[in-house]
């Protein structure tokens, strides 16, 4: 790190591009106090007397860049800073994680760029991602959004195209009505035309595709149609994040030997390489696709330039973290270069990614985007003039993040240690699993084992589980689940114990440590009602009463699948699952294949379960994105009296088809 100062410091000697309206770059000193810009003064100003100084002679001092479209990942923090990006806007992920991350104290930990969050992405029924918040109707939108804002500061709303039109409308009205009005960004919701979006006052659009008239492609769209779109937008306040770099990266062969891959998590690298292989196949089979992509890109570039000329708000964003082969940090610098190549002058592009960007994102401009007294001290010192060359953002001399200076050498160290961690993670994936056994309730241990869950050959979590037969004949399914952290986040541990009696969940103990929080959910069946108590860090939060029969709690633990093998019956049933640690009742549907496999439809997606004869789970397959998450039984051990053993789910398969479960019980 550059020296830290408790007192004011002055950055002197640089040519300062404040990006404030109607000012030209010129020699100036920038005074920083704590995490803010205290003043911008002429060189030699009396107020500089006695201040400590940092000499930035020969550099250009500019506000840090804004990447208005990323999928946040703490692993990427150092990569953004290394490209002069000091503010990133996450378009929606895991709600609680994002709220915790947004805290500037959390941001200072490693340190990372300032963060704007949407919390979770909004979507309609059958959401595209697990962490989405489903708004099915107008009423639900208002209700859930109010609760969302109570959870913590949200900076804007972001939605998927499945958001139903009434909920979309309600979201915009709700967002604009807030004391600090929030923007609403997304693609065009299904069934909403561009005209409707303009009339409905959506604030921003992701990706240029949203601008294509209905039924048109980039090949068939007429110039006159695009001109009409430009004219329409020019009269509106709608902002557009074009993501040219995201389109462009599809048109060059992926650089599989890219040294920067070392900074990414093993899972990300596996996904990217998978994508590269798929793409190679596709282009080999239909080379004309590439040709068409290149032509489309020419039109997209031309359109962006037209939009800019017409005064449409363009807010650069990279889509890093969302699409493969967009390296966080580098992707935004590429985006800026592509905007220049499309015909927008460098000086304009710099403004779009700083001052104008902040302004077009609403209240963000109060803190970011320019070098002005009172704003956050997020600055970048470059070796070349960004009005002529934006590429030097890829190797800034110094980056100031909330008043803390980081030099090029320190950035390099931070990146190197990130690469080192990723390497270690990769090794760890093949090390033996070390998980202590879960605590066992009273009763007879009948089966225990170990399984691991992998994605793209990388281990996501390991689970040690056990089944205990209680005196009353009920079965306890217990587990300790260790989810592996990333280079930037710690491992998390979940402990779970579910008791099933008469094919019904009668007792539950669940504890998860997630970040600074320990959430517990605990309870029993009494008088036909499952009474669950939720605690946060040991403090009682609320009770949840569930009157319907539930079969299990479904959290990704294999205990649910073990229960399914013993007590699951073909057809529909209900079970609990967690929505942001809140228990929710879910509709499940089970079918049994002739080979004994169970196919399960669940609120969080489909899965296929295969059992061993001892009742243990041999394999569970789930789909996630375009990959498969695989849970594999590594070992299982039968113990106790033969009479107490679990039934064979494979033998039960045939029987289940005839509705004669091995463990018949009244419903």
């Amino acid at each position: 790190m550059l020296p830290l100062f408790l007192e004011k410091i002055a950055l002197v000697g640089a040519l300062v591009h404040t990006l404030e309206p109607a000012t030209e770059p010129g020699p100036a000193a920038v005074i920083i106090e704590a995490d803010r810009i205290a003043a911008v003064v002429p060189p030699g100003d009396p107020s500089l007397a006695g201040l400590r100084t940092i000499d930035l002679s020969g550099t250009h001092l500019v506000p840090g860049l804004i990447d208005a479209y990323v999928n946040f990942d703490a692993d990427h923090d150092r990569l953004y800073l290394s490209h002069g990006i000091t503010l990133v806007r996450d378009v929606g992920a895991d709600l609680t994680q994002m709220i915790a991350e947004r805290d500037s104290l959390a941001r200072n930990r490693n340190p990372g760029p300032s963060l704007l969050i949407a919390g979770a992405v909004l979507d309609g029924p059958n959401p595209a991602t697990r962490s989405a918040i489903v708004l099915a109707s107008r009423e639900e939108a208002v209700d859930k959004l109010s609760r969302l804002l109570e959870l913590g500061p949200i900076d804007f709303f972001s939605f998927h195209l499945g958001l139903p039109e009434p909920a979309w409308r309600a979201t915009i009205e709700f967002a604009h009505r807030q004391q600090r009005p929030l923007q609403v960004w997304g693609p065009l919701p299904r069934g909403v035309s561009l005209d409707a979006a303009l009339a409905g006052r959506q604030d921003g659009l992701f990706h240029l595709d949203a601008l294509l008239p209905e039924g048109r492609t980039w090949e068939t769209v007429l110039d006159s149609e695009l001109r009409a779109v430009v004219e329409k937008l020019a009269k509106s306040e709608l902002a557009v994040t074009p993501t040219l770099a995201a389109y462009a990266q599809r048109l060059v062969p992926p650089r599989k030997d890219l040294p920067e891959l070392a900074y990414l998590s093993p899972i990300t690298v596996a996904q990217w390489l998978g994508d590269a292989a798929q793409r190679e196949q596709l282009y080999n089979k239909s080379p004309e696709l590439l040709e068409r992509g290149i032509k489309a890109f020419a039109r997209q570039s031309a359109l962006v330039a037209e939009l800019h000329r017409a005064g449409v708000r363009i807010v650069p964003g990279s889509a890093a973290g969302q699409m493969p082969w967009l390296l966080p940090g580098e992707a935004l610098v590429n985006e800026l270069k592509l905007l220049v190549r499309a015909g927008i002058p460098s000086a304009d592009v710099l403004r779009l990614a700083t001052e104008a960007g902040a302004r077009h994102l609403g209240f963000v401009e109060q803190q970011h985007g320019s070098i002005r007294a009172g704003k956050t001290a997020n600055l970048v010192a470059l070796d070349t003039d960004p009005r002529e060359d934006l590429a030097s953002f890829a190797r800034p001399r110094q980056v100031w993040i909330r008043g803390r200076g980081i030099g090029a050498a320190e950035l390099r160290t931070l990146r190197d240690s990130l690469a080192q961690r990723q390497k270690e993670l990769q090794k760890l994936s093949f090390a033996p699993l070390e998980i202590a056994s879960p605590q066992l309730p009273p009763g007879e241990l009948v089966l225990s084992g170990l399984c691991e869950t992998t994605f793209a050959n990388q281990r996501l979590r390991g689970e040690r589980w056990a089944v205990v037969r209680a005196i009353d004949g009920g079965l306890y399914y217990c587990a300790r689940i260790l989810s592996f952290g990333t280079a930037s986040t710690a491992d998390t541990l979940v402990t779970l114990q579910q008791k099933v009696l008469d094919n019904q969940l009668v007792e539950l103990k669940f504890e998860v440590q997630s970040g600074p929080r320990v959430v517990t959910l605990e309870g029993e069946l009494a008088a036909g009602t499952l009474n669950l108590q939720q605690r946060l860090n040991g403090v009682f939060q609320k009770s949840v009463r569930i009157r319907e029969r539930m079969l299990f709690l479904d959290t990704g633990s294999v205990t649910a699948d073990l229960i399914l093998g013993q007590h699951g019956r073909v057809g529909a049933f209900k079970a609990l699952f967690l929505e942001d640690f809140e228990p929710a009742k879910g509709d499940y549907s089970l079918s049994v294949q002739p080979n004994g496999e169970r196919w399960l439809e669940a609120p969080l997606g489909k899965r296929i379960v295969e059992y061993a004869v001892d009742g243990s789970v041999a394999k569970v397959l789930r789909q996630q994105g375009n990959g498969l998450v695989l849970t594999k039984g590594l070992s299982a051990e039968v113990s106790g009296e033969p009479s107490a053993r679990l039934s064979n789910p494979r033998a039960a398969a045939g029987a289940a088809d005839n509705s004669k479960a091995a463990n018949p019980a009244p419903r």
Binding site: P3, E7, L105, N110, P111, L414, A490
Partner: protein, 397 residues
Amino acid sequence: MRFSSPENEAVALAEAGEFAPLKIGPLAVWPPVVLAPMAGVTNYPFRSLCREYGAGLYVSEMITARAYLMGHRRTLLLASSQPDETPRSVQIYGTDPKDVGEMARSLVDEGVHHLDMNFGCPVPKVTRAGGGSAIPVKPRLLARIVRAAVKNAGSVPLTIKVRKGIDDALLTFLDAGRVAQEEGAAAIGLHARTAAQLYSGEADWNAIGELKSRLSIPVLGNGDIWESFDALRMMRATGCDGVIVGRGCLGRPWLFRELAEVFDGREPAQPPDLGGIVAILKDHARRLVAFFGEREGLLHMRKWCAWYTKGFPGSASVRDSLSRLNTFEDLERELARLNPREPFPRSALRAHRAKGSRVQTVALPENYLCSRDDDTPPRSIHSSEDLEEWERSLSGG
């Protein structure tokens, strides 16, 4: 003639090969000397000054994990270093395995070479909350914290520093040593006093020998090394692998030169006279001002002036005004009044610096002793206000 107090007049210099470099993980430290972590003292300016006199490992003052993770500016400053400092060593203070692990990881990413952990802090505010020297009372909790730190430190060696115990009735150092060894600590340092003793009385070097005899990891002896010869005596008497030097170097950074000399088998040079000390003092002041800024740097300087001039009969008249310094000019003006030819007084060699001879009854959380087998971390600070107050109340171990 040797310049020492009577008990050290006949101490033999180290023979070639008598002592080995101190092995802390991959680090080999020669001479086997560690500058004790001292709150308000072992910041980068003082470490850099000591380093110019001698060699060894120079540990930062204790850095509270919570404050560090919350990006508290002053804490980050105190934890910071400069590229010229290798090996770079930071002492972590924390009670929550998660925080401690996260901090270790982040320091490793910044390129730290050695991490130490403080389990000896006797400050009532700390022990009453179940931290500092109260932690080894619960060996399983200690184990959890050390495990988290070791795991996240990866290839960077982690050591722990403890006291003998809470008081004579509750000694914890042997348990702590076992835990340190089992959990993969690279060494353990023992300040051979109990928390109840604070800094009073004499350190019990026998305890260091006892700990050494039980462990295979290196043991660092700490307590009452005022003169370089004390280090030789301690290592010979206890068999420990290295020494930690605390108060002895306050206002006497050349102690590290003397330590290097005696370990290399050479008779140490004479200490500087008051003129020489004034030059060192100004150098130290400049370093503090460069690091903390003038206001804060000179505030720091007030206590250093008392330590540098300790025992000089002629300094009494200026000591008072030195304790009210505000500017560098104040400092120069007052120092000019001293007689530069006044020799270093022998009586100042073992004169205690910082911390008096108080003892205390150690404050522990209620019912603390009833749950020694428990491994739940005590509640740590969460708000920025609590943090400010915490940082103000600390004065180390």
